[in-house]
Amino acid sequence: MSELLTSSEYLHHHLQHWAVNVLPGSGSQFWVLNLDTLVVSFLLGFGLLFFLRRTAVAMTIDSPSKNQLFVEMVIDFVSATVKDGYHGKSALIAPLSLTIFAWVFLMNFMDLIPVDLIPRLLSFVGIHHFKAVPTADPNATFGMSFGVFLLIIFYNFKMKGGLGLGKEVLTTPFGKGSSMVWVLFPLNIGFHLMEEVVKPMSLSLRLFGNLFAGELIFLLIALLPWWIQWSLGGLWAIFHILVITIQAYIFMMLTIIYLSMASEAH
């Protein structure tokens, strides 16, 4: 990119995915794969799992390594959060929470890597568009929240049974115990649909919005003259350390709460 770009060209360039359409003939944008999102998130997740597994295998009782202590700390933290939020017993919730927290944190962390570094490096090997922050791609955040959504539905059925769930959907929040409750069935169904659909939306849009905005601001800062970038860039990066951690925590926390709500009758 030795040629000079205008500001809008620069922004536009940075907001394009490294993408491939798996069904080029269809003319539909649905068959596009954002390779940058997929590759970065997979590499981060794979590295995370590799580290966790290696630490788990090497764990000892008497002489813990620093890695072990670090992992124990994170696991204790996640464990405590799960115990506070989810009162049932489940072998899935805690590992799910750990995966969400750590993976989202790592994907968010890509935001702290200088915005031009990775795209510039990759431009040498012929990849000219690259967005390095997977969580700034709604496909990544919706992918995860959709997974959580499926789990919410699954837990609703598992914990309450088809009948219990049906009764809850039809008779709450309005008209419970009344003989004319059937009049309110459509209203209740509407409420429940809305309530459930809003959950994955709120999960993924919150994360996406925060990270996309964060990235955009880094891009805008990168448009400043080079001798002043450090001031705003440094400030925003320091602030962002907080943001990415909190966003990862919120995603985990809300997942636990949603699954807890799915497991308990209203």
């Binding site: 798996v22 794969l33 999102t37 764990m59 899935l92 805690a94 709604p138 496909n139 996406f208």
Partner: protein, 156 residues
Amino acid sequence: MDINLTLFGQLITFAIFVWFVMKFVWPPIAQIIQQREDQIAEGIAKGHQGEKDLLEAQGKAAVVLQEARHDAALLLDRANQRADKLLSEAKTQSQQEAQRLLNAAEDEVGQLINVARETIQKEAVDLASGMMEKLLQGLDKKQHKALLAKALEGEQ
């Protein structure tokens, strides 16, 4: 903000990651943490127990020491009493022995005195009768009578 096939790619990746963590990461780590917690709790409990045992042992030692002191005092007391008793017995015995020896000596002295007296009497009688014989040989019947009468007078 285009939603496309990437979403399902991410969903599958997510599912696999969660499955892996649930299967191969969380259980071993949770188990070790549990064991470590148990061990630490056990160590602390043992520490407390040790402290308790120490206090108990110290208490016991104090009691034993006091008993030993008490016993020693008792023994000393008894020994003193015994010594006193032995001493007083010995005193009495020696006094009695001394008295006995004194008595015996006195008896002997008495006897000796008697013997001496008898001897003296005998010698005196012999002397007297000898002298008498010698005297009587020179006296007449009259003088003899007067002398006898005088002697008898003196005897009465």
